[in-house]
């Protein structure tokens, strides 16, 4: 689960990391009222889960009430796309924040290093650009420290890291203390990523987090009620419906609806369809032990996407039983409006019983395929362009 900037800053504040004063606002009037309380100049920042907001016009400084009104009006409702083409994301909220006078911009992050199986703290005296750019321009300006999870990040380690990074001498202690607090926030909130870019030194030589990028481990939300409560439902209608039904679904932009059992087989199915010249419309893992109800739900979600012109079912039953899957398909034909062709490849446990059931049901628009590759070719042909 990714947090919006202001949610991340609230989490930082809870861990004792200095952040600028600010208020969230969901309408122009709210934003103007917040700006008047905070004072001028203030900054109006679009709250969306992608980088590159500044370049897209989503961050503006307001010198007075009129400017606050103009900027909030322009930013709220704006669509912002990410630097890699993510989105677009619509701005539903802005964060109104006191303006900061900046002496220096640093970069700080704590990430889960999957290879090393340890948290990794990264610090740089070159902030304000992304970490890949820093690595490209001046790799020596990035210093890294792996933290033993059984020990944690000590103050001495943090000071040594700050010295190593070439942080201004008078703020070494302040930066080190911020790193330790960010590490504590990382641990206490089950984060897998905390990035502060920039971490600034103000004209009064205070160390302040001017931005916040935070990812929380979704598997740990059960012990963070306050974070679970602010998780927004997905904007995409199919993703929202899938989430309500407890299905693992990811929307893609093609026209071939796909269901597989197991994440690996499902990903592989998308690839095989793409190799056959098709464009997958989604990823949907019906999971191990898929029961008939889950199959009905899955078909309902997949076919609710108006772009879908054909559907591929790729099931290799291990724990999942072919006869259960077949019952689900038959039931779905009764309960869901199935107006697109369905190619079914059923293999593994009880697949013969399943195929027998499907043959007896004699469903309109249902095609059987024996192999995964054959199924992919058939569904691509049925889906058309």
């Amino acid at each position: 689960m990714d947090l919006l900037e202001y949610q991340g800053k609230q989490l930082f504040a809870g861990a004792g990391v200095a952040v600028p004063a600010g208020e969230p606002a969901a309408s122009v009037d709210e934003a103007v009222a917040a700006a008047e309380r905070i004072g001028f100049p203030c900054v109006i920042k679009a709250q969306v889960l992608i980088g590159g907001r500044g370049k897209a016009g989503g961050i503006k400084v307001a010198k007075d009430v009129e400017e606050a009104r103009t900027h909030a009006g322009a930013i709220l409702g704006m669509d912002i796309s990410g630097p890699r083409g993510e989105g677009p994301f619509r701005v539903h909220q802005v964060w109104v924040e006191e303006a900061s006078e900046i002496d220096a911009e640093y970069y700080a992050s704590v990430i889960l290093d999957r290879s090393a199986k340890m948290p990794l703290v990264i610090l740089s005296r070159m902030g304000g650009m992304n970490v890949e750019e820093i690595a490209e321009k001046d790799p020596g300006a990035l210093v890294r420290l792996h933290v033993d999870p059984l020990v944690g990040l000590t103050g001495d380690d943090a000071v040594a890291l700050a010295v190593d990074a070439g942080i201004d001498e008078d703020v070494v202690d302040g930066v080190a203390e911020t790193l330790v607090r960010l590490y504590v926030a990382f641990n206490h909130n089950d984060a897998t990523l905390i990035e502060v870019n920039p971490l600034i030194v103000t004209s009064h030589r205070r160390v302040v987090a001017l931005d916040a990028k935070v990812t929380i481990d979704g598997a740990a939300l059960f012990r963070h009620e306050e974070l679970a409560a602010i998780e927004d439902p997905p904007e995409d209608p199919q993703e929202r419906l899938a989430k309500e039904k407890g299905l693992t679904y990811v929307k893609l932009d093609g026209n071939v609806g796909i269901l597989g059992n197991g994440a690996g087989l499902c990903m592989s199915t998308l690839d095989v369809v793409a190799n056959a010249g098709g464009a997958p419309a989604n990823f949907l893992d019906a999971g191990g032990g898929s029961k008939a109800d889950a199959i009905v739900d899955a078909l309902e979600v997949i076919t609710s996407d108006p772009k879908v012109t054909a559907v591929l079912f790729n099931i290799f039953g291990g724990i999942t039983r072919g006869d259960e899957v077949a019952r689900g398909i038959i039931e779905a034909y009764e309960r869901v409006d199935m107006d697109v062709p369905l190619v079914v490849r059923l293999d593994g446990t009880n697949s013969e019983e399943g195929l027998q059931l499907l043959a007896e049901a004699n469903l309109d628009g249902l095609h059987n395929a024996k192999t995964m590759l054959g199924a992919a070719e058939q569904v691509v042909e049925l889906a058309g362009k």
Binding site: D148, G264, L265, A274, F316, D347
Partner: protein, 290 residues
């Protein structure tokens, strides 16, 4: 020989009194695995289909001689079960549970390493050595005894490939599912090392997917340390960045963790990569039969 599980496996199942734990634990026993005990706190003294239940893993070790633990308990308690098995002196822990918080696994990973305990998973289908033992949820009927070692992040994709190998007349020394979580007890490298020294294994099939860099590190390791032929398959070429594809670890972060990068890493080290599960199985078959 075989790896991870075999004829000397004495299995204790944490969570044997639960629905899933009893279903799969007893299925493993039916296959021939020596299931010696179950563990459920406060249910010590009971039995599940003739298998004694103990309150603690330590008792299962001293009373029943357990040396391998399978963890089937709910995610929020699973790391504690793994820790308990490590403390009890278990040699191999196989964690099937999906959805264990990463911050629970970080200390547990290091605890297992420091104690010299081999951990497989979590979020994995387990390990099967055909004809000898099955610990986990792998449907054994799709695999026969043979000389191909399989190591995979994915369950169902492994069944798909195993089934194609079987149809080509080939069997397996062992099948090990290492799991699809960001932090798993054993990486590809750990299992490759075991297959390399296993006399029964002639060829290794590695099944990877997007996310992390375990495949890239495996490619380097193969070039340095593995003399047996390795065939790879990678899933997720069409996965978009930033989206978790089912497994918690299957996510492309920025530009890292893509299937294309993993394929290139293998090919750069001379490892053949199949474009589909069928092609990977066909390449493996042609190498073994040549």
């Amino acid at each position: 020989m075989s790896i991870i599980v075999g004829t000397d496996t004495k299995l204790v199942v944490s969570g044997l009194t639960g629905r899933e734990g009893s279903f799969h634990g007893l299925r493993n026993r039916d296959y021939g695995t020596d299931l010696v005990a179950g563990v459920t706190p406060k249910k010590g003294g009971q039995e599940v289909d003739g298998v004694p239940i103990f309150d603690t893993v330590a008792e299962a070790v001293t009373e029943a001689g357990a040396n391998t633990s399978m963890v089937f308990v709910p995610a929020r308690f699973a790391a504690a079960s793994i820790n308990e098995a490590i403390d009890a002196g278990i040699g191999t822990v196989i964690a099937i549970t999906e959805g264990i918080p990463v911050h629970d696994m970080l200390p547990t990973y290091w605890k297992a390493r420091e104690a010299g305990v081999r951990m497989i998973g979590p979020n994995c289908p387990g390990a099967l050595s055909p004809g000898k033992a099955n610990v986990g949820i792998i449907p054994a009927q799709f695999f026969s005894q043979g000389s191909i070692g399989v190591v995979s992040k994915s369950g169902t994709l492994t069944y798909q490939i195993g089934n194609e190998l079987k149809q080509a007349g080939l069997g397996n020394s062992s099948i090990v599912g290492i799991g699809g979580d960001p932090i798993v007890g054993s990486d590809f490298i750990d299992i490759l090392e075991l297959y390399e020294s296993d006399p029964e294994t002639e060829l290794i099939v590695l099944v990877g997917e997007i996310g992390g860099d375990a495949e890239e590190r495996a490619a380097d390791y193969i070039a340095e340390h593995v003399t047996k032929p390795v065939v790879a398959y990678i899933a997720g070429f069409t996965a978009p960045p930033g989206k978790q594809m089912g497994h918690a670890g299957a996510i492309i972060s920025g530009s890292s963790g893509t299937a294309e990068a993993k394929k290139k890493a293998f090919e750069a080290k001379g490892v053949q990569v199949g474009r589909s599960p069928s092609e990977a199985a066909a390449i493996a078959a042609s190498i073994v039969n040549s």
